[in-house]
């Protein structure tokens, strides 16, 4: 009895020392330090452990090799993509993105799968394009598009300076809304292009596509688009960028 009490009191003392150390250090500086560092580290959250394959995440966090493990996860995702295995493919894509969130390729191709391939797999699984009604097909595509946009949001947080993310969103918007509603939502696409043009690294084709779509699809919006481009003119920065915006303004002026 005495030995047991001694053992328990020893254990409690050890726990108290350890917890005391942890609390003191967290209170003094480690808590703040971790919060600051975490924002700069690849996604490290309980949610990612639950959403993706936990073993992969544990391996990734335990032994480093994040880039390598992310590549392996992507290869595995690709093998599931070949088999049209939606859930496995999605989980492994998410795992690859979680382990190496700074890899542009993973984001772009994950959204390609989610927005373009997965809805077609679902329709095929439900019996094919002739069996599934058009309304149901449109709903499946709408959900895939919504998920694609969600991922674009996360992608843009990782690459806030990249205009490519928003030009991708604009192109996805044109394609997917045509499939869902039978007509592309050019207004929303132009808004995505505007977000792209606000980025420091906006691709030049965003300006030209913006002008061309306005001129050919939404001529009534011409004045608004011109105002937007003129604003960008003042913030162009480089002569090359200036020339591209002037070209875009010229496209808008053409009849």
């Amino acid at each position: 009895m005495k030995t047991a009490v001694l053992k328990i009191s020893k254990l409690l003392a050890v726990l108290a020392i350890l917890a005391g150390t942890g609390i003191c250090l967290n209170f003094a500086f480690a808590g703040d330090l971790w919060l600051r560092l975490r924002s700069r580290m690849p996604e490290t959250s309980a949610a990612s452990l639950a959403d993706t394959a936990g073993t992969g995440m544990a391996l990734g966090t335990l032994g480093g090799f994040r880039t390598v493990l992310a590549d392996i996860a992507w290869l595995r995702a690709y093998s599931f993509w070949e088999k049209s295995s939606l859930n496995d493919c999605e989980a492994l894509c998410a795992l690859a993105r979680t382990m190496d969130p700074q890899n542009f390729f993973f984001w772009e191709n994950s959204i390609n799968y989610v927005a373009y391939d997965f809805p077609n797999w679902v329709i095929r699984e439900r019996g094919g394009w002739r069996q599934v009604s058009e309304a149901v097909q449109a709903e499946i595509h709408r959900r895939a598009y919504a998920r694609g946009l969600e991922l674009v949001g996360e992608w843009s947080q990782r690459f806030p300076e990249s205009g490519h993310v928003w030009t991708y969103a604009a192109q996805m918007c044109i394609v997917k809304t045509a499939v869902i509603y039978g007509r592309s939502d050019f207004e929303s696409a132009l808004q995505f292009y505007e977000r792209a043009m606000l980025c420091e690294k906006a691709p030049w084709f965003a300006f030209l596509a913006y002008a061309n779509i306005t001129r050919m699809q939404l001529p009534e919006r011409r004045e608004r688009s011109r105002d937007f481009l003129r604003e960008r003119l003042s913030a162009a920065g480089t002569p090359e960028r200036l020339a591209v915006i002037e070209d875009a303004l010229e496209i808008l002026s053409a009849e």
Binding site: L18, A47, F105
Partner: protein, 272 residues
């Protein structure tokens, strides 16, 4: 003086072991071969891929070394009865524990230094080549900081010191070699994923009992992810503020000190 001699003998004994040499060669080979494997990367930065290989090898093999060597060297003293002979002389148990730990710390320092040196050479040789390619393509040249790598190596050494101190703590009361190794690796895993416990404790969807349990465990183990600053220190031009590095180093030293103190407290009452 006794601490010095115990540390020196521990270090020499460890260096002579095949296991240390095997892990060291494996780690060095992996870092050197990472260049050959960089084609396997999907559109990422090659320098990051190589560095990641090196960082991974440093921590993985370093952790295995810290756990296995600590347990092995400690139990060798007990099993061969050399500990009894040693403690019969005017050597206190405190000196024995600190000396052993200092020997392991020296061993880990050699391991980390060699791994970091090779990684530094590989990255320094590859960076100008990649910068030239980037210039031709008109893209941004990859950045690499040798001093950042040196700082990261020091942080990794401190992280491995925590692992060794934690192993020492478990070994100080363990009765078998296997038990000490298994429990130490479990402790390492928990410390690596300590932030998940913090999240569970702070989560809205978690039950009260789970919150208390996760919160208590989270406070009782160090957060080893605090030392994961490799990419920021070596490959990011923005770097990491000196205060952050110092704070992480201080955090590691305090934890290692506390764990060694507890190891001594248990070892003091251990029957040999």
């Amino acid at each position: 003086m006794s601490i010095y001699w115990i540390a020196r003998n521990t270090f020499l004994e460890a260096v002579r072991q095949r296991f240390f040499n095997f892990l060291l060669i494996l780690g060095l080979l992996m870092t050197a071969l990472s260049l050959a494997l960089s084609g396997f990367d999907f559109g990422g930065n090659e320098l990051k891929f190589v560095a990641d290989f090196g960082f991974g090898g440093l921590f993985l093999f370093g952790s295995i070394l810290a756990v296995v060597m600590t347990v092995q060297l400690f139990f060798a003293e007990i099993d061969n009865r050399t500990a009894i002979t040693l403690l019969a002389k005017p050597v206190s148990r405190f000196e024995f524990v600190v000396g052993k730990f200092a020997g392991i710390a020296l061993l880990l320092a050699v391991f980390v230094a060699l791994m970091a040196l090779l990684l530094g050479i590989v990255l320094a040789l590859r960076q100008p080549v990649l910068a030239a390619i980037a210039e031709q393509r008109g893209s941004l040249a990859p950045y690499f900081s040798l001093s950042g790598l040196a700082l990261f190596a020091v942080l990794q050494w401190i992280r491995l010191l925590i692992v060794a101190a934690m192993t020492f703590f478990f070994t100080s009361f363990a009765q078998t070699y296997l038990y000490a190794v298994v429990v130490s690796f479990c402790g390492l895993l928990i410390a690596q994923l300590q932030y998940v416990l913090q999240d569970v404790a702070a989560g809205d969807k978690t039950g009260t009992f789970a919150k208390i349990a996760a919160g208590t465990i989270a406070q009782c183990v160090p957060n080893l992810q605090l030392f994961n600053l490799g990419p920021q220190l070596t490959l990011d031009a923005a770097g990491v503020p000196a205060g952050t590095v110092l704070a992480a180093a201080g955090y590691g030293c305090v934890w290692a000190g506390i764990l060694i103190f507890l190891a001594f407290a248990f070892f003091r009452s251990r029957e040999m």
